[in-house]
C-alpha cells in the first residue's frame, strides 16, 4: 500500500536568540524517518523537547517561530511539501492535513461561534456549501457525543467545557474530510475521567471516517489505546519505531523500557499520628457568588506525614489550600494548627503562623520573580522570618541548595536558566527555607515530564524524612498519590467523598466516584479503553 505520508531523514533546526549572547543554533529534529499509511494511526511519544510536536507540524510544513525544516523530505500524497510555496501550502493545510491542538480552550477564537470556526476550512477551500458543511458538522458533533448537536455550534467557546471543546476541535479537524489529522496531546489538559471519554470519541471517529492520524502524547498508556504504530523520540532523534504491541510488550531500547516500566517509588504508608493541621467543617465560597465551592470539609494532616487531596478540576482542591493559607477566609468551620486555632484571614495571622505553612505551586515559572537570582529567591524567607544576613544567609542558602540536590553555582543563576525540574526544586527550597511544619503542594509535578516528576517526588519524600515536614499534596494524578500519600481524601464537587489511610481508600469496595476515578487511569495495554468503557458504573461528570 502506498504511503500517505512519508518522512525521510527529516532535519529541523531553529536559531535561538538568548539576550546578551550570540545566537544559538539548535537542531530540534535529526534524521527522523517515519511513514503513515491510509487509515492508520501513528503514535509519536517522548518527553517535552523530544521534537514530537515539531515533527507533527512538519507534516503540514509548519514551523513555530523561527523553526525551519532544513533537510530530508516530507512526502504527502507523493509530493514533497517541504519545497512547496506559500499558496501551495495554504491549499494543503486544512484540506489534506488538519490539526488538533493540545489546548482547545486556547485554540478556538473566543470571539466567534463554534460552528463558524468548525466549518471555516470547508468554506475556505470550497469543499462544500455552507448547508452541507453545517450538516456535516452537526453529524460529527453527534458522533463525538456532544450534547444537543443541532444547537451546539451556536455557542461560543467560553460557554462549553474543556472536554467538549476538545471534541469540537476534533470535529473541526474532521469536517473537511482530510487525509491526515495531527492530534497534538489532545487529552493532556483534561481530567483523567474526561480524558477517557474524549479518547474513546476520537478513536471511534478515526475508525468511522477511515482517516489517517498522527497521535502525539507523552503518555505511553494513552497512545497504546489508539495507535497502530509507535515512534519513540528523545532529544529529536528516533529511539525506537515499531508496532504498538511490540513497543509496549517487548521494547528493545533501554529508554523505551524505562518509559514502559511503571513508577518505581516505593513509599510505605505511615500510620496515623498527632495531627498538625485539622480542618473542621470548612465551607467556603468566592466573593460575589452564591455557591459554596467547599461544603463541610473535615480533614486532618498528621505531623510529618502526607495527606493527598485527589479530584478533578473544579472539585475544590485548590480552594481548600487557599482556605488553609487564609487567602480565602472560610464562611464556616475552623482550622487548628499545632493545637491552636488559626485566624481564618491571612491578614490577621501572626508572622510565625505564616512561617509554619508554606506553599509550592504547579507553575514554578510564574511562582518566581524572573529578575531575581536563585540565591535572592531562596534568601528572601531567610531574611524575612529569621533576619539572616550576609555570610549566615549565604551559608544557609548553600545548605538548602545541597538539600535539593543542586550544588554550588546555582545561587547566581536566574530562573530562565533552569530546567522545569530545577525550577520546581528551587521553589521547594524556598518553601523549606521558612522551616515550616506544613507545606501545601498544589499539583507540583503536573507540569513535569514523568521521569523528572519522579525525581521531585523522591526529593519531597527524602525531605520529609529529614525535616519531619507534613505535606498536603493536591493532585489529579492517581499514580502520584500512590507514590507519596499516607492518607487520601477524594474530593468531588466541593465535598470529600472518601477519606482515610491510603491502603483503605485504594481498596474495594469503592464508592461510585472513586471507582470512576481509579478505572479512568490509562493502563499500559492495548484494548484497555474498550474493556473499561464496558464496565463503568457512572458517567464522568463535567463533559
Amino acid at each position: 500500500m502506498a504511503d500517505l505520508l512519508t518522512i525521510k531523514n527529516l532535519r529541523i533546526e531553529a536559531t535561538a536568540y538568548p539576550p546578551g549572547e550570540a545566537p544559538k543554533h539548535l537542531v530540534l529534529v535529526d534524521d527522523v524517518s517515519v511513514s503513515v499509511q491510509k487509515g492508520r494511526v501513528l503514535g509519536l511519544i517522548g518527553e517535552s523537547g523530544a521534537g514530537k510536536s515539531t515533527i507533527g507540524l512538519a507534516a503540514m510544513s509548519y514551523g513555530r517561530g523561527g523553526v525551519r525544516l532544513t533537510g530530508g523530505q516530507v512526502l504527502l500524497n507523493g509530493r514533497d511539501i517541504r519545497t512547496a510555496d506559500a499558496s501551495g501550502l495554504r491549499s494543503l493545510r486544512g484540506r489534506e492535513v488538519t490539526y488538533v491542538a493540545q489546548s482547545a480552550a486556547a485554540a478556538f477564537n473566543p470571539a466567534k461561534r463554534l460552528m463558524a470556526q468548525v466549518i471555516e476550512t470547508c468554506l475556505l477551500h470550497r469543499l462544500m456549501t455552507k448547508e452541507q458543511a453545517e450538516a456535516r458538522a452537526v453529524e460529527l458533533f453527534a458522533k463525538l457525543g456532544l450534547p444537543n448537536p443541532e444547537t451546539f455550534g451556536q455557542r461560543y467557546p467560553h460557554q462549553v467545557s474543556g472536554g467538549q471543546l476538545q471534541r469540537a476541535m476534533t470535529a473541526m479537524a474532521l469536517c473537511p474530510k482530510p487525509d491526515l489529522v495531527i492530534f497534538d496531546e489532545p487529552t493532556t489538559a483534561l481530567d483523567v475521567t474526561t480524558q477517557i471519554d474524549v479518547l474513546a470519541a476520537i478513536k471511534e471517529a478515526i475508525r468511522d471516517t477511515g482517516v489517517a492520524a498522527i497521535y502525539i502524547t507523552h503518555d505511553l498508556a494513552v497512545v497504546a489505546q489508539v495507535a497502530d504504530d509507535i515512534l519513540v523520540l528523545r532529544h529529536g532523534k528516533a529511539v525506537e519505531y515499531g508496532a504498538t504491541d511490540q513497543i509496549i510488550s517487548a521494547p528493545v531500547q533501554d529508554y523505551t523500557q524505562a518509559l514502559v516500566s511503571v513508577r518505581s517509588i516505593d513509599h510505605a504508608e505511615k500510620t496515623d499520628a498527632t495531627p498538625i493541621l485539622r480542618a473542621t467543617g470548612i465551607t467556603a465560597r468566592y466573593r460575589g457568588t452564591d455557591f459554596d465551592v467547599l461544603q463541610d470539609i473535615t480533614v486532618d494532616v498528621a505531623a510529618g506525614q502526607t495527606l493527598a487531596i485527589v479530584g478533578e478540576s473544579g472539585s475544590g482542591k485548590s480552594t481548600l489550600a487557599r482556605v488553609i493559607t487564609g487567602l480565602l477566609p472560610a464562611r464556616a468551620g475552623q482550622i487548628t494548627f499545632d493545637g491552636r486555632t488559626l485566624s481564618p484571614d491571612l491578614a490577621t495571622r501572626s508572622k510565625d503562623d505564616l512561617r509554619q505553612v508554606q506553599m509550592i505551586y504547579q507553575m514554578a515559572d510564574t511562582a518566581m520573580n524572573p529578575r531575581q537570582t536563585v540565591g535572592t529567591i531562596i534568601g528572601r524567607p531567610l531574611e524575612f522570618y529569621f533576619g539572616l544576613k550576609g555570610e549566615a544567609k549565604r551559608a544557609r542558602v548553600q545548605e538548602l541548595l545541597d538539600q535539593i540536590e543542586m550544588g554550588a553555582g546555582f545561587e547566581n543563576r536566574y530562573p530562565a536558566e533552569l530546567s522545569g525540574g530545577q525550577k520546581q526544586r528551587v521553589c521547594i527550597a524556598r518553601a523549606l527555607a521558612a522551616k515550616p511544619k506544613l507545606i501545601l503542594c498544589d499539583e507540583v509535578t503536573s507540569a513535569l515530564d514523568p521521569l523528572v516528576a519522579d525525581g521531585i517526588l523522591k526529593l519531597l519524600l527524602n525531605l520529609q524524612a529529614q525535616e519531619g515536614v507534613a505535606y498536603l499534596f493536591i493532585t489529579h494524578d492517581l499514580a502520584t498519590v500512590k507514590a507519596i500519600a499516607d492518607k487520601i481524601a477524594v474530593m468531588y464537587r466541593g465535598k470529600v467523598v472518601r477519606y482515610g489511610q491510603k491502603s483503605d481508600v485504594l481498596a474495594p469496595p469503592f464508592d461510585d466516584y472513586t471507582d470512576l476515578l481509579l478505572s479512568s487511569v490509562p493502563e499500559m495495554k492495548t484494548g484497555w479503553l474498550e474493556s473499561v468503557l464496558k464496565t463503568r458504573k457512572m458517567a464522568s461528570a463535567g463533559n
Binding site: Y99, A101, P110, Q159
Partner: protein, 318 residues
C-alpha cells in the same frame, strides 16, 4: 436584567455623576481666578460703589454654593446665561459654533479612522518588513510636526505650489454641503495627519498582541492567508483597545483643535473659548468647559460600551 443592559445603565449613570463633578471643578476653577465678573466688566473705571452695585445686580454677592446651584439649575434647563462682553445668549452662540466644530471633527474622523485602521492592519501584516517601516515612519513624522507647522506646510503646498484650495476656511450659515466640504479641506488634511499615527500604531500593536494567541496558529493551519487571519481572527479580538484609542482621538478632534481653527480662521468652539478666556468672559468659559467635558465623557462611555459589547463573554454569559 441582561448584564449588558445593566452595564449600560451603570456606565451612563456614572458618566452623569462624573459630569456633575466636573461642573463643580470648572465652577471652582473659575472662582479661583483673580478678580470677578463685575471687575472684568467694569475694568479700570471700577469704583468701590459701582462694583458693589453690579455685584448686587449679577447676584455675585451671594455665597458660592448658592450661585453654583443657581447656575446649575439654569444650565439644566438649557440656559447658559449671557456673554458679558456682548450680552449675546451663550447657548445660541455656542449652538452654531458647535455645529462647525462637529462638522470639522466628523469630516476628519470619517477619513482618519478607517485609514488608520487599514494602515495598522497592513503594518501588522508586514510586521518588520518594508511596508510596516514606511507606514510607521511616515505617520511618526506627521505626528511629530507641531500642528501649526503642518498647517502652514499644507497651506503652502496646496495653495501656492499646487493652487487648488483656499488658505482660509470661513464657513457661513446657508453655505451648501459641498461648499462647506471644500472650505474645510485644508484643516481636515492637517487633522488627519495629526491623529493618524496614534490610532494606526495602536491598531498595529493590538493586532500583533493578538497574533501571539494559539487560535492564530489554528487559523494559519486551516490554510487561511495572512490577511484573512488578521481580518477574521485577530481583528475581532483587538476591537476593545483599538476603539478606546479611536475615541480618544475623536474627542481630541472635538475639543483640542484650537490651533488649527486659528490658523485657518475657522469659526468654531475652540477659538470661541480662547477668545473669551482672554476677555475674562467667565460664563462663556464655564459653558464651553462643560460642553467639552460632556463630549469627552460621552465618547469614553461609548468606547467602554463598544469594548464590552465586543466581548462575547459578556454578550453571551454561560
Amino acid at each position: 436584567m441582561h448584564p449588558i443592559i445593566k452595564l449600560v445603565v451603570q456606565r451612563i449613570a456614572l458618566g452623569l455623576l462624573l459630569l456633575l463633578a466636573v461642573s463643580v471643578v470648572i465652577f471652582l476653577g473659575v472662582e479661583m481666578l483673580p478678580g470677578d465678573t463685575a471687575q472684568a466688566i467694569l475694568g479700570q473705571s471700577a469704583t468701590a460703589e459701582s462694583l458693589a452695585n453690579l455685584r448686587e445686580s449679577l447676584g455675585l454677592n451671594q455665597n458660592a454654593p448658592t450661585r453654583y446651584f443657581k447656575w446649575l439649575g439654569h444650565a439644566l434647563q438649557g440656559d447658559l446665561g449671557k456673554a458679558l462682553t456682548n450680552q449675546q445668549d451663550i447657548a445660541h452662540a455656542i449652538g452654531q459654533r458647535l455645529g462647525n466644530t462637529l462638522f470639522l471633527a466628523v469630516c476628519a474622523g470619517v477619513i482618519a479612522v478607517p485609514l488608520a485602521i487599514a494602515l495598522g492592519l497592513i503594518a501588522a501584516r508586514y510586521n518588520g518588513r518594508w511596508p510596516d517601516k514606511v507606514i510607521s515612519g511616515v505617520t511618526l513624522a506627521t505626528i511629530s510636526l507641531p500642528e501649526f507647522v503642518a498647517a502652514y506646510f499644507v497651506i503652502y503646498l496646496l495653495t501656492q505650489v499646487i493652487p487648488i484650495l483656499q488658505p482660509v476656511s470661513m464657513v457661513f450659515p446657508g453655505m451648501g454641503f459641498f461648499e462647506k466640504l471644500h472650505a474645510v479641506a485644508l484643516p481636515v488634511i492637517v487633522l488627519v495627519m495629526v491623529v493618524l499615527a496614534h490610532m494606526m500604531r495602536m491598531t498595529r500593536a493590538a493586532i500583533l498582541n493578538v497574533m501571539q494567541s494559539a487560535y492564530i496558529e489554528t487559523a494559519e493551519l486551516k490554510g487561511l492567508s495572512p490577511m484573512q487571519v488578521i481580518w477574521r481572527h485577530a481583528l475581532p479580538n483587538a476591537v476593545a483597545p483599538i476603539i478606546s484609542v479611536v475615541v480618544i482621538n475623536l474627542a481630541y478632534l472635538v475639543v483640542g483643535v484650537v490651533v488649527v481653527e486659528v490658523v485657518f480662521s475657522y469659526n468654531a468652539l475652540g477659538q470661541y473659548l480662547v477668545d473669551h478666556v482672554a476677555k475674562r468672559d467667565l460664563p462663556v468659559v464655564q459653558a464651553v468647559g462643560i460642553i467639552f467635558a460632556a463630549v469627552y465623557i460621552g465618547l469614553n462611555i461609548l468606547a467602554d460600551l463598544i469594548g464590552i459589547i465586543a466581548n462575547p463573554r459578556l454578550r453571551h454569559p454561560k
